[in-house]
């Protein structure tokens, strides 16, 4: 069935990064500090395209470690039909300097949400308490399409 564009959604919690090492500390308790959430609308999907949804997700977060090298864990969850599912998880080193860390994640053929909306939430967790600053910027966004050429 024809390829359909479904939606683009954005969540940019921090547009302008603060000076290095002055942002709030990232939680070391799983799943960590909430970074952003979007609701991708799938209501426009044709009946025959409901099982072929693809979602591209992208996250950027400016982070700084105190004194020594540490690491963070990024997680992305899907909430659909009342079920929360971890769909992406990865670790990233954070040097004692500011970096804009980022991920690209995908959700392939997620269950079709009866309410027409797939919610995605992203979190970052530090390996230790009070060692990694969330200086920003923080931006999380997603794009969805479905179907293919007949």
């Amino acid at each position: 069935m024809p390829i359909q564009f479904l939606d683009i959604r954005t969540s940019q919690a921090i547009s302008n990064g603060v000076p290095s090492g002055t942002g709030s500390f990232i939680s070391d308790v799983a799943p960590g500090t909430f970074l952003g959430g979007i609701g991708v609308i799938t209501k426009g999907a044709l009946q025959q395209n409901k099982n072929d949804i693809r979602v591209q997700l992208r996250l950027s977060a400016g982070v700084t470690s105190e004194i020594s090298e540490n690491f963070v864990t990024f997680r992305v969850y899907r909430i659909s039909n009342g079920v929360t599912t971890l769909i992406f998880q990865g670790n990233q080193v954070v040097p004692p300097a500011t970096i804009i860390a980022g991920i690209v994640a995908s959700d392939f053929q997620p269950p079709f949400p009866t309410n027409g909306q797939i919610v995605y939430q992203t979190y970052v967790q530090a390996n230790l308490a009070n060692v990694i600053h969330l200086d920003g910027p923080v931006s999380f966004n997603g794009t969805a399409a479905t179907g293919t050429s007949p």
Partner: protein
């Protein structure tokens, strides 16, 4: 109103990176050097969706510092609409003494509707220390726009 796809635009001024530390030096004067620019066309937006535009932007920029040297760069994205320039994203990134492809994703939520039907986005890079950071490439900057929702 239903969700509309509006446009996607790309700007890749530098597709192949140079050997490291051979690209032009990144300046330290704000806002730095412009590395890429796109014009996202919003003319197709319906009347009902004009105040619900969403733009996602992505950039990758190859940078290096000479060995034993470290510096910070600041990335900035500006929107130009109706003759007004607005900072929409700003972040710092260390450039270690090895080449990196730094990158980020950014968003512009509910920008002003441009009377001429085009939102211009410009990406800039500024260094902290003079004559230190090299813009070796590659440089790629792209954006996609949509508007509206389901009622």
């Amino acid at each position: 109103m239903s969700i509309q796809f509006l446009d996607m635009r790309v700007s890749q001024p530098n597709s192949y990176s140079l050997p490291y530390n051979t690209g032009p030096v990144v300046p330290i004067t704000e806002p730095g050097t412009q590395v890429a620019s796109i014009g996202v066309i919003t003319k197709g937006v319906s009347q009902a969706n004009q105040t619900d535009i969403r733009v996602v932007l992505r950039a990758s920029i190859g940078l290096s510092c000479p060995s034993e040297t470290v510096d910070y760069v600041t990335f900035r994205l500006f929107r130009i609409a109706n003759g007004v320039t607005t900072l929409v994203f700003q972040g710092n990134q260390i450039v270690p003494s090895v080449p990196i492809i730094a990158g980020f994703t950014a968003a512009d939520f509910h920008p002003t509707l441009p009377a001429n039907g085009q939102l211009v986005y410009q990406a800039f890079v500024q260094a902290t220390t003079a004559n230190t950071v090299h813009l070796d490439g590659p440089v790629s900057f792209n954006g996609s726009a949509a508007a509206g929702t389901f009622s």
